[in-house]
Symmetry: C2
């Protein structure tokens, strides 16, 4: 019984630790040269709106590149989407609102790079 | 006088807004195939130590790629370094500890991508 209690305590600690480590979805965009300023701004606002539509999105921020290092490989935008866990992303990716966003984005996009990580 | 007061109020609001928007430094790494697991782990820990050494670093987290999308272009690591503002980065980049870290990193690195943004 004592061992079972210790085991349950350890399991609870593990679950708590996992719950505290957010799942980050980091997205870099480079738009086509042919994309107009208005089209790019519309995508920025659409991404903001998308994040509000999907309830598993727990945090969202974005900005345009201001790095002085010149190591951005042409990428001009970063979007940081936070989920509680991978299950949150798995709701987001197939969500109809995400599909609509990607359909509008694709014709304007030169390239994308996505890295997800569980924050340590 | 009233106009001066209004102007000062607006300036204060602008400064406050800027102070609340953190400066994010997002770094993706892809290591060379020849880099051993031990060498990669040493770099991970060195980056953690570097963040502790530079006092303008206000936040730091990292993780390895777990995205199911396959859009990571070979990048396996993301480091998210937060500064209060661009001046914080400008202390970090030329810091001797940063120089030492980069010297150790470079022989092991295949490629890097860096995007900085002021969070909106």
């Amino acid at each position: 019984m004592k061992h079972l209690f210790s085991l349950l305590t350890l399991l609870m600690l593990a679950v708590t630790a996992a719950a505290e480590a957010p799942y980050r979805h980091v997205v870099f965009f480079k738009f086509k040269d042919s994309a107009s300023t208005e089209q790019v701004q519309a995508i920025e606002q659409d991404f903001v709106a998308l994040a509000r539509k999907v309830e598993t999105v727990k945090g969202f921020e974005w900005g345009t590149n201001v790095s002085p290092e010149g190591l951005n490989d042409g990428f001009t935008h970063c979007f940081l989407v936070t989920f509680a866990d991978k299950a949150g992303l798995e709701v987001y990716l197939p969500h109809p609102a995400h599909g609509e966003f990607v359909s509008k984005l694709k014709p304007l996009l030169d390239k994308v790079c996505v890295v997800d990580y569980v924050a340590r």
